[in-house]
């Protein structure tokens, strides 16, 4: 059996605010294998954000084990976690989070800068990543010269540029109109087909439907975990009819 990208065992997360303890995750087990495209859904307060933060090594579980591509990351300190994020993870956010007044190429280079890669290599890899998301002609555009969808593509290129083991997308279509959202989801689908493991957090079923596996979280535990079989995707169909080749 190949090493799982994500292996959570009995993961709990407790937040303490004064006297009150809130248990956001409760003995959660989750295994994601390489090449999967997993959508995580859940209502607000279900613990899906907490799960995403732990998966993204932005936070540490209170108890339990987390092995990311075989490495135990549950007890690492801030510095080591930053390194893990840099080397093994790619993030895509709802609000793009591009650096203002910085062109697409330099935005995509950012993780490589922190990885300490030489300038020439950074340029090359960043340009290749932008090409991969279909922005080869927009390398030197600043975020304010790009549409929302293009900005999110830059962000996706940035997530891919370090060849991460896992790409985490937090409501990546939340700030986009539905048509652009579909384009972005098709991009995720295509990078998934290229073998990248993607975990997507969303509350929209039609977005989650692009994934191959759907995990639903409720009250800090797994409520359901099943492959997406019924690929009934009304929006995708509409898009196919509207802008298909």
């Amino acid at each position: 059996m190949s090493t799982a990208v994500v292996a959570l065992e009995q993961v709990s997360k407790v937040y303490r605010t004064g006297e009150v303890c809130v248990e956001a995750l409760h003995g959660l087990n989750l295994r994601i294998t390489p090449g999967e495209f997993v959508a995580i859904m859940g209502t607000s307060g279900s613990g899906k954000s907490t799960l995403l933060h732990i998966l993204g090594c932005l936070d540490r579980p209170s108890s339990g084990r987390y092995r990311l591509a075989g490495h135990d990351v549950a007890r690492l300190d801030r510095r080591a976690l930053a390194q893990v994020r840099n080397r093994m993870l790619g993030f895509v956010f709802q609000s793009f989070n591009l650096l203002p007044r910085t062109n697409a190429l330099e935005n995509v280079e950012l993780p490589l800068v922190y990885a300490g890669r030489p300038r020439r290599e950074r340029r090359k890899r960043a340009a290749a990543a932008l090409e991969r998301v279909g922005l080869a002609s927009r390398l030197f555009h600043h975020p304010n010269q790009l549409s929302g969808g293009q900005q999110q593509r830059v962000a996706i290129a940035r997530a891919l540029v370090c060849d991460p083991r896992l790409v985490l997308a937090d409501e990546p279509t939340g700030n986009l109109d539905s048509r652009t959202g579909i384009e972005i989801m098709e991009l995720f689908e295509s990078i998934h087909r290229q073998g990248v493991t993607v975990v997507l957090v969303t509350h929209e079923p039609e977005i989650a439907a692009y994934a191959s596996r759907l995990v639903v979280i409720k009250d800090g535990t797994l409520c359901s975990d099943e492959p997406v079989t019924a690929r009934a995707r009304p929006f995708a169909a509409a898009s196919g009819a509207g802008s298909g080749p």
Partner: protein, 411 residues
Amino acid sequence: MKLDEMIRAALRALLRNKMRTFLTSLGMTIGVGAVIAMVVIGQGAKAKVEETFTSMGTNVIIINPGSVVTGGAKAGAGTISTLTFDDLRAMQEELPSIHLTAALLKATCPLIAEDQNWTTTVNGTTPEYFQIRVWAASAGSTFDVPDVEHATKVAMIGQTVAEKLFGSADAKAVGRKIRIKNVPFQVLGILERKGQSPSGYDFDDQVFIPISTFQRQIAGGLHNYINKGAIYVAANPSFGTTRAQADIESLLRERHHLAADAEPDFLIKNLDEIAKAKQESTETLTTFLAGIAAVSLLVGGIGIMNIMLVSVTERTREIGLRMAVGAQPRDILLQFLVEAVSLSALGGVLGIAVGLGAAQRLAARFQWPVKVQPELLVVAVGFSALVGIVFGVYPARKAAQLDPIDALRYE
């Protein structure tokens, strides 16, 4: 992340808000500018003082006769004749710490040239005086020992006197006749320009004649006493003026039969010490002014801290993103620190320009020499960078300690 990339990133961040960057570094500009101007001006003033005292002669001690004490009221130097030519000879012969001595007798007399007149100080002295004061003739020559021995009627005149009597201070005055107290004298030479004493006395407005001539023609009286005058002494350089002053004091006390606790009946002025004191007071003033100017550096530093805190808050999401893609806390710390230092160093460089400009202008007005030591500029830039570090650390630490989740969520 490498330092050159950090500096580039910092400059780019600062260029995003040009007006804010300019105003923030303005505080540093004013601070550094004020300090530089004060230091440069202070050094100019010190050099000016030095120049003045050098013109009075180095190693010089002046002994004035003491004052009359009537019922506790002291009438001032020279009101009683306590110094004698025997004192002078004794000093010259007995004290190895003394190199040269010269008596100087003074009187204020009317002078008449062909068609001009002028009233000024006439001094009777010996050739040693010109050696002690390091004062040569710019035209003609100074009088010599035979002139004193034979009491010849020759005069050395200062530049101001030459201008008043002959219209100019050039060589054509040499050999002309002047009348001092109606006694005809021949102008033997014109003395080099000395300028003013620190108290504003014009050294060039004087006439010098041989002391014997003075005693015979200008002021009579008891010839052994030096009243209305002084003894000028050049200390032996290998002993120094402090030692010479002490030697003179004990010799004169002994010769004047003064009790150990009695007030001396003479006054000793050590020009070197006066010069040092004057320089010290100039320096103290400069330090004080520079200190006040340095307060504005502090204010500039606080301005930088304030703006960096605003910047950290504004860029919270950026910090969160940078952390998410792998920035170490140290990377964030350095990023903001480099920005703060760039701000303050920018202000420092502008401040140097402003400070030097201001110093140049002020020095030109007061006719002080402008002396800029390159070290000063290095120290100024270094110090402003230091201010950037000191006041940048707190905002930068605040940024580095942000929690990436909170930072990413920040609205």
